[in-house]
């Protein structure tokens, strides 16, 4: 599930886009079903405007200015109204939405953005826990540095990303309890793997030995006393 392609870690848009693309993958693995209503409305507004412009272009090219003149003004007005509605929808209604969906544990909509030159993933999560009819919609704002799920050489690691989402967002956490970790930033799978390597075991043995050596004189003192 982790993206295998390498990205340039200093490109903020690469970081954001890769993460955005990972969002639906993860949520779909939790049996969330994507809702495309917002995207579809935006596409409908945009394509209607483009079709009007295309029709006017064809009419003008085929019949000339004099014939198309009566239709030009209404077409121009309609086009710019639709274009305004399109922009309004994009900026104020969708405003960065990368995923909207529904699962067994509730509804969710996630909007993401980054601030210029700051490698921090900012999310607004709107969610309604199941049963969605009786629960009020909630909103949380969460943010975390991209370093949490990108390696230094630019590979996306899915596990810490999923753990972060599952821990922060109740609806996702309820759908994926295995990824909920108590302390943020400590429950990463990669770190857990590191803890059982041979080097670590030797370290622990050394520490045990050292403490044992200290304990011996201590007990000696006690004996003296």
């Amino acid at each position: 599930m982790s993206a295998t392609t390498k990205i340039a870690v200093h490109s903020l848009s690469d970081l954001k886009n890769t993460t955005d693309d990972a969002l639906p993958n993860y949520l779909h693995s939790l049996k969330f079903k994507q809702v495309h209503k917002q995207t579809d409305i935006r596409l409908a507004l945009g394509y209607t405007a483009v079709i009007i412009a295309g029709a006017l272009f064809y009419f003008d090219w085929k019949f000339g200015w004099e014939k198309s003149k009566p239709y030009t003004a209404p077409a121009v007005i309609a086009y710019f109204l639709l274009n305004t509605a399109f922009s309004y929808w994009l900026w104020f209604v969708e405003s960065g939405t990368v995923y909207e969906g529904e699962g067994k544990t509730g509804k969710i909509r996630i909007a993401t953005w980054t601030k210029k030159h700051i490698p921090v993933y900012e999310c607004d999560v709107f969610f309604t826990p199941a049963p969605t009819e009786s629960n009020p919609p909630q909103k949380i704002r969460i943010r975390t540095p991209f370093t949490r799920w990108f390696t230094a050489d630019g590979y996306f690691i899915a596990k810490p990303f999923q753990q972060w989402l599952a821990s922060e967002v109740p609806v996702i956490g309820a759908a994926d309890p295995n990824n909920v970790v108590e302390e943020i930033g400590r429950g990463s799978e990669t770190e857990r793997v590191l803890n059982v390597t041979g080097n670590n075991a030797i370290d622990i043995l050394e520490q045990l030995k050292a403490s044992g050596a200290k304990a011996a004189p201590g007990s000696g003192r006690r004996r003296k006393a």
């Binding site: 848009s13 886009n17 495309h36 995207t39 579809d40 596409l43 945009g46 394509y47 405007a49 483009v50 412009a53 295309g54 006017l56 272009f57 003008d60 200015w65 030009t72 003004a73 077409a75 121009v76 086009y79 710019f80 274009n83 399109f86």
Partner: protein, 167 residues
């Protein structure tokens, strides 16, 4: 790629083109001229206008007077000509007719007009009078019309940029 993502990127490209076209048409409606901005293609109006000057036209108020610079299309030729009005006939109830001449030309435009035509019909032939200009910036379009492959190259690059770019 997902169909909606593809549709979004195609839409972005289409919106760039259609917005440019509709702005042009909006300007056409406002000025009542089929071609509200033209580029001077010849030196026949020097020193008033040079090749490559960008002219802004206005086509409301049909009472054109002598001395105004108008842009007209000759029937059967599709290149607009920018010349100065040197004589006018009619007006009022009868259709206004104009004779034009390039400032830099020795003779008036009678020879440029369609065969059998010795005057311009203000309403039918003229697409606007010049109300403003920006020197030289129109030279790009002269290059584009003289080297047509530049047009395709530019369109291709524009399209590629819109498709490849995210944000």
């Amino acid at each position: 790629m997902q169909p909606r993502q593809l549709a979004t990127q195609i839409l972005n490209f289409a919106l760039v083109l259609s917005t440019a076209f509709m702005l042009w048409k909006g300007l056409s409606v406002a000025t009542d001229s089929p071609s509200p901005i033209v580029v001077v293609l010849s030196g026949s109006m020097e020193p008033a206008f040079q090749r490559g000057d960008l002219l802004f036209l206005w086509n409301r108020g049909m009472n054109t007077s002598v001395g105004e610079v108008v842009v007209y299309n000759v029937k059967g030729k599709d290149i607009p000509i920018v010349h100065r009005v040197v004589r006018r006939h009619g007006g009022g109830k009868s259709p206004l007719r104009l004779l034009t001449k390039g400032d830099n030309n020795a003779a008036d435009d009678t020879e440029l007009y369609a065969t059998g035509q010795s005057f311009l019909n203000r309403k039918e032939d003229v697409i606007g009078s010049v109300v403003g200009y920006i020197p030289f910036v129109g030279y790009v379009t002269i290059l584009l019309s003289e080297y047509p492959w530049l047009k395709q190259a530019m369109l291709g690059i524009m399209g590629l940029m819109v498709v490849l770019q995210r944000e």
